[in-house]
């Protein structure tokens, strides 16, 4: 009852229980925060809008590994259209931060519908906000990731730009939400 082993066991068990309780309380305290984020996205310019050179029938899961050495861009499907655009992103996400927040991961995704797919979500740009001071930002950027769709469905397409944020805590439950900004449109012709 009084040996070293028992004392070590008791101390460890108690310590771990208390730590777990503290983590749970920290996570629960996050629920009392009611965030009110706001954002605005403006598309300044559609830089180019192209169809990929392989103009065959729509082939799914076209394999390029055997032919092309691995380069920076992963293989894309044959008959794909690609867009490059410059965006102006303004956001104020300061109300999302609590004392238990490690970082907020924010990304902008384009959402649109095609005859084949009921929902498409393509992430265009993302960033990590490490602290509350950086949460109110204005950024002008081209899309970081390729905005590409199978087939030639993007011409004249209406799409929404959604700003998603993902609050990653120091410990506990993660929260994610989004803000949908509709009303963007791609040009009718390739250029």
């Amino acid at each position: 009852m009084h040996s070293f082993g028992f004392r070590a066991n008791a101390v460890l068990t108690f310590g771990i229980t208390i730590l777990a309780l503290i983590c749970a309380m920290a996570s629960i305290s996050d629920n009392f925060n009611s965030p009110r984020p706001s954002s605005e996205i403006q598309i300044l310019n559609i830089n180019w809008f192209q169809k990929q050179p392989h103009g065959n029938d729509e082939i799914e899961d076209f394999q390029v590994w055997d032919v092309v050495p691995i380069c920076l861009f992963s293989p894309i499907d044959a008959t794909a259209a690609m867009v490059s655009l410059t965006m102006n992103i303004t956001a104020d996400l300061q109300s999302l931060f609590t004392w238990n927040t490690k970082q907020v991961f924010v990304f902008v995704a384009a959402e649109y519908e095609t005859p084949k797919n009921a929902l498409n979500q393509v992430s265009l740009w993302d960033a990590i906000i490490p602290a509350k001071e950086h949460a109110k930002f204005w950024v002008q950027t081209a899309n970081k990731y390729r905005f590409v769709d199978q087939g030639s469905n993007l011409r004249g397409k209406d799409f929404n730009l959604t700003l998603h944020w993902h609050v990653m805590p120091k410990t506990g439950k993660m929260f994610a939400n989004k803000l949908v900004i509709p009303g963007y449109r791609l040009p009718e012709e390739y250029r």
Partner: protein
């Protein structure tokens, strides 16, 4: 295959096994704790449950009268040790089964095969560092862009924790195609998928990460990389339990 929670009959089987093992364990403990040297006729009468064992007690008492005092002491010490060890072992086994059943229940409740995973690579830094434990949850909600998912690539047994950046859901059959990427990686995950695989399907996804506990996973990482520590830890805990006085 998605494991659905509580309504599955598998959950009831596990509950049944748990109850049976607990009852068996309690019964064995009770039987082993029957006092051998001190019970008198009155005590056996007061506890009708041990009536069958009283015959054994009477035979033993007669045997003791025949033996000398030294041999009697040695005998009692030896039998006491065996009894103690057996009791401890049964107690340990009961704790073990409770732990296993709790884990199975957690698996059913969260809908995943492993409700807790440990981050081993740094591809999601600074959000998830190496050694963080993640809590997973899976339900019928479709996977959308931004979800942090844990998936297994065919032929690899270490699951990967990354974020979904592209979702394509077909109109006709609701089939979903996903593309993932680690936050700290520059490239998306196509180089991680199997040969010729361009998209992930929902059946490859083990679950969505919903919670985080930092630093806890280091225990698992250290024990996986140096398996000898596992045996040392289990041996130490087992020894401690077996030699406890109560």
């Amino acid at each position: 295959r998605v494991e659905t929670p509580l309504s599955e009959p598998r959950y009831l089987y596990y509950l049944l096994i748990f109850l049976c093992s607990q009852i068996l364990g309690q019964f064995l403990c009770l039987v082993l704790q029957v006092p051998q040297l001190n019970s008198t006729r009155e005590e056996t009468r007061q506890r009708p449950f041990f009536f069958a064992i009283s015959f054994y007690l009477r035979a033993q008492r007669q045997r003791e009268k025949r033996m000398g005092w030294v041999r009697k002491t040695v005998d009692s010490v030896k039998s006491l040790q065996v009894k103690q060890v057996l009791l401890r072992a049964i107690g340990l086994a009961m704790v073990f089964t409770s732990g296993l059943i709790l884990w199975k229940a957690l698996m059913c409740m969260t809908g995943t095969k492993s409700p807790v995973v440990v981050v081993v690579s740094g591809s999601m830094e600074p959000g998830f560092k190496r050694g963080d434990a993640l809590f997973l949850y899976k339900n019928k909600d479709p996977i959308r862009a931004g979800d942090i998912v844990v998936f297994n690539v065919k032929g690899q047994d270490v699951p990967i924790v990354h974020r979904v950046i592209e979702v394509h859901e077909q109109q006709s059959n609701g089939e979903i195609k996903l593309l993932t990427k680690g936050d700290a990686n520059d490239m998306d995950d196509r180089f991680l998928y199997a040969r010729g695989q361009l998209w992930l399907k929902p059946q490859h996804i083990m679950g969505r990460a919903v919670g985080l506990l930092p630093y806890v996973g280091w225990v698992t990482i250290v024990m996986t990389e140096k398996p000898v520590l596992q045996y040392i830890l289990v041996g130490a805990v087992g020894l401690l339990f077996l030699t406890s006085k109560d």
